[in-house]
Amino acid sequence: MADKILTSLDPKSQAAARGWSDLTIRNAFIIPTVAFLIIFNIFPLLYSLGYSFTDFRASTSAPANWVGLQNYRELLADDFIWRNFTITAKYVIISVTGQVFVGFGLAMLLNRDIPFKGLITTLLLLPMMLSMAVVGLFWKLLYDPSFGIINYALGLGKFEWLADPDMALYAIAITDIWMWSPFVMLLSLAGLSAVPKHLYEAAEIDRAGTFYTFFRITLPLVLPILMIAIIFRTMEAFKTFDLAYIMASQPTTELISIRLYKMAFLEWQTGKSSAFAYIVLVMVVAITNIYVKYLNKVKER
């Protein structure tokens, strides 16, 4: 009954007799938001789609010339761009794997009676709420080879973290792991606390080993939520800009977003960078699709 009144958009409905009709209210509530997003997100993308077929440079007043698919052909044939993709893939794998192990590990440790558990959990979550740009900046101080606290604490002497081209990407990934493991921990904890206790009791009665209990009970039940964390972090790591841009400026740490930023706003190759942006966009939309499918799946449970 209630459902019928509230969802019907019948202009003669009970509520519509007074004041605005439900149809008007629905449209007035939804259309501005959708319009806003179309104007400020979709329209700009169409705008840059046009530019992606030109040799436009925003730094000059020269008119844009139509070049067809040349930008796309050049980009896909460019070895340097492929290197940016390889670097990004490596970065995503290292940082997401690290976050899953550290985050899930922390969640396993926390999933028991611990004094001040609420306070500890909140404190552990602090890093992920901070600004990536500012975190990158102060980790530079921590990583400093001569006076940095990390080398001192680990007894590494003058170890170069960010100046060494081979090490820099790992150093950035470690910072990302520090920052985002709490996110994986938070979601894993939710998954772990939802595992019914009687399953563990049954396993105990059956004298199942710790190993067996973990792989046959804990992991399968936590996996859907863990997958949300993994896909979300993959997407975010793929887009990383702030952290890497601030921490190091080596060719070995040039992630896709950084390459794109340089191409668009330092080299001012507006047309070509628009084409590049589109290639990146297609990849992000693909990951987003998977992500939303999982979100809905978990929601339905």
């Binding site: 009144i5 509530f29 530019y51 740009a133 900046l137 102060f138 006076f147």
Partner: protein, 319 residues
Amino acid sequence: MAAVQTSSEKLVNRFAIAAVFFALIVMLAPIYWIVSTSVKPRNLATTVPPTIAFEPTVAPYVKTFVRRSQLRGPVPDEEYAAAPWWEQLVLDGGEKVVKTRGGAVRSSGFGPRFKNSLIVATVSTFFAVAMGTLTAYGFSRFRVAGKDDWLFFILSTRMLPPVVVAIPMFLMYRVVGLNDTHLGLIILYTAFNLSFSVWIMKGFIDEIPREYEEAALVDGYTRMQAFFKIVLPEAMTGIAATAVFCFITAWNEYAFALIMTNRNAQTAPPFIPSQIGSGLPDWTVIAASTTMFLIPVAIFTFLLRNHLLRGMSFGAIRK
């Protein structure tokens, strides 16, 4: 679990508690270090080995806000004595406060950036939450053709990499003169947070029983009255949590601010790293500005602690 713990279980528990405390120390050490650097005298900030015990000073906080220059010679005693305490702190560090000819203290630029951050984050949060709440209500209570597709579209706008959106936005803003303005940044942040706000508010509104509104309608309320007098008060906790999330996101944002602003409307995140400049950076000043920038976020994280899970999963997981 079994009521009686075996001795091996006790051992495992003890080990876990020790490990948790160790992890806590490791996770918080970087934050502790930046905060402690912000109250160090400059000469102790970059010592080898690092200085852990020292007498704290507020000099870095004073230096963050004022423009300074290197002292060329000793300061006459009477001039030192005449200076206010905070100027003396700067003089103690071998620098002097730069003043205009009229004697007014020159700003380092941090104060205005901090203010810009506050303005942009607050206004964009207001619009994102207001529009998001209305839209969430629309999707929660009314029949919408292709509802899931619209919601997916709304969410997908948030997933766009900032640099991808920034290229056309920069060109469009140049045409209409919105580059380096508060309004330009507010629009971008509102758009960015709007999708989040719709998703999370829909979850909160879904939880409010429809019977409340039905009863109000029967009592002679119009639908709008029912929304403002019944639904909004019920959704207040959710609105507050959403607002705090939106504020933190806008407050922390870097890429758009870097690309779209340079002086007039620049926010703190692009400014703080630019203090490194060339030569030897004064890490105490960077630490002080960083600490001031992080304090609001730390406070908000505590206020949000019960909603973090929900917020970070776009409302998919509720406790």
